[in-house]
């Protein structure tokens, strides 16, 4: 009995370890091939990048606007509430809020929102193609599915995440100023002070946006390509895409923040 249980434990651990290594290897290969595929200009359909940019960027516009402006207002509300309790001096709220938004909160929150919307969309689409054997059909006609499916989404996502991030930063700052003015009577002139924002903040913020924007399509494309055939397959792949791309965003954000703090801030 005990022997059997202990064998089972080792079997489970070994099984999981092997699975993790296989997954890591496949993800690494997908990433490598995606970067390589950026330079395969011929195997790309014309207009595909623009189509994906529309799908990823324009159609997330409303979602990002609503979620980020609500989050901006909430964050200012919480900060002002706490400051009221301690000092009551709200002249520093605006500048520090703007700084914090640019180098920290806007990149991670925008990317989390896009990981949810775009990541799930990519995995659902590619997963459906896998289940209906369209991916096999692509391979049979000599087209690399990574070049054809993931690379256009990759390029489009980098651009659109960056643009949406800049838009989101402006929107969050406006929403925050509105909240601070209406609920706590902070003057707009006192709030909109951009002196605290350094080049370092801008560099960290944009690096984060670029890295997150490139991670989301790769991770969710990988989840879509490894969909298991069957009626549960697509749903599971979509779930995995949301979780894995969100986690990738959080971990990458942490790494870039730590490096940024040690070098340029």
């Amino acid at each position: 009995m005990i022997k059997q249980i202990s064998t089972n434990i080792f079997a489970t651990i070994g099984d999981k370890t092997i699975n993790i290594f296989v997954a890591a290897k496949t993800l690494f290969l997908v990433t490598l091939n995606t970067f390589r595929g950026v330079f395969h200009f011929k195997s790309r359909e014309k207009g595909e990048i623009l189509k994906q940019a529309y799908e990823i960027g324009n159609r997330s516009f409303l979602f990002v606007s609503v979620t980020l402006s609500a989050l901006g207002m909430v964050l200012v509300f919480q900060v002002c509430l706490q400051i009221n309790k301690i000092t009551g001096d709200q002249s520093q709220v605006g500048p520090e809020f703007i700084k914090g938004m640019i180098h920290a909160f806007v990149p991670i929150l925008t990317a989390m929102m896009l990981a949810t919307r775009v990541g799930a969309g990519i995995a659902a689409e590619i997963g459906s193609m896998k289940v209906t054997e369209q991916i096999d059909a692509l391979r049979m006609s000599g087209v690399d599915p990574i070049d054809y499916l993931i690379v256009p989404r990759f390029i489009a996502s980098i651009f659109m995440t960056f643009i949406l991030g800049i838009y989101a930063a402006l929107l969050v700052i406006l929403a925050g100023a509105f909240m601070a003015h209406h609920s706590f009577g902070v003057n707009y002139n006192v709030f909109f002070v951009f002196d605290k924002v350094t080049w370092g903040d801008l560099i960290i913020g944009s690096t984060k946006l670029l890295v997150h924007g490139s991670a989301i399509p790769v991770v969710s494309g990988y989840c879509g390509l490894t969909t298991k055939v069957g009626s549960e397959g697509v749903g599971t792949a979509t779930t995995r895409a949301v979780i894995n791309s969100s986690l990738a965003v959080i971990i990458l954000d942490f790494i870039i923040s730590a490096i940024g703090l040690m070098t340029i801030q």
Binding site: A120, V234, G235, M262
Partner: protein, 257 residues
């Protein structure tokens, strides 16, 4: 041109109203099923395990790095003003009240909510729900209510675990990145935070759990069109949950202070 514009706007509004109506109707059905509370206890127990216990690793991972990110933001000030006494408070306050519930809620929606949509959607597609109805088993009492209750309870409990892990992560990274000792972190943390801050976040977490459960069950049982439809439903469900979490966060922050 103009008529097609109005047609598309109208179609979107109709779709949106249909979803809202469907979710409200689902809410009504759940209330009915809970008066008197009669639902499948085995299924409830199974879901508690599947949704709660199995999500612990992902919640711990998320919370640990979230704590790290928060302490890095706080240590920007430490570098500038030498304000080590603010790190524990800053990290604790932001994790307890906002960042903890929101990020954990989003991860929960990604892992549990979308899994739930996929599962219910697959059952719809393979006609298992019709099978239940044919056996005179109420799908609401058997499938939906246990899941909704399990998600509310489990997101609440997972947020407690997540808060502990995030604060520990913040203390650990605070020591090695910002150079704040554990004792200093603890003093700042324990003197400036109140039980109210923790409860504020936990109330939010329970309500987020409810939002995620309603959304995911609604999109799950209204799946149409095979495996492809399941994928679309999961996609819609996570988007709707994220939207719901953020909007209700805004409303709740105002109303519970």
């Amino acid at each position: 041109m103009i008529s097609s514009f109005f047609a598309s706007v109208g179609e979107k509004i109709l779709n949106f109203s249909k979803i809202i109506g469907g979710i409200v109707y689902l809410f009504y059905q759940i209330i009915l099923a809970l008066l008197p509370p009669k639902f499948d206890l085995d299924e409830f127990w199974r879901n508690l395990y599947k949704m709660g216990v199995k999500s612990v690793p992902i919640i711990i991972l998320t919370a640990f790095f979230t704590g790290g990110i928060m302490v890095i933001q706080a240590s920007v000030f430490v570098k500038k003003f030498g304000a080590t006494s603010l790190v524990g408070w800053g990290a604790g306050y932001s994790v307890f009240r906002e960042v903890g519930p929101i990020l954990l809620g989003l991860m929960f929606s990604g892992r549990v909510g979308s899994n739930n949509t996929a599962e219910l959607g697959t059952m719809v597609v393979t006609e298992q729900i019709d099978g239940l109805k044919a056996l005179a088993i109420d799908p609401f009492r058997y499938l939906i209510v246990p899941r909704v209750l399990a998600m509310i309870i489990m997101l609440f409990l997972l947020t407690i675990i997540g808060n502990v892990v995030a604060i520990s992560g913040a203390a650990l990274f605070g020591k090695y990145i910002a150079g704040v000792s554990y004792a200093g972190f603890w003093t700042s943390f324990s003197q400036n935070l109140y039980l109210g801050d923790l409860i504020h976040g936990l109330i939010k977490a329970a309500i987020f759990g409810f939002i995620v459960s309603l959304n995911s069950c609604y999109f799950g049982i209204s799946v149409k069109g095979g495996a492809v439809g399941v994928g679309k439903a999961v996609n819609n469900s996570v988007v709707a949950s994220a939207l719901g979490i953020v909007i209700f966060d805004y409303i709740l922050t105002y109303n519970i202070t």
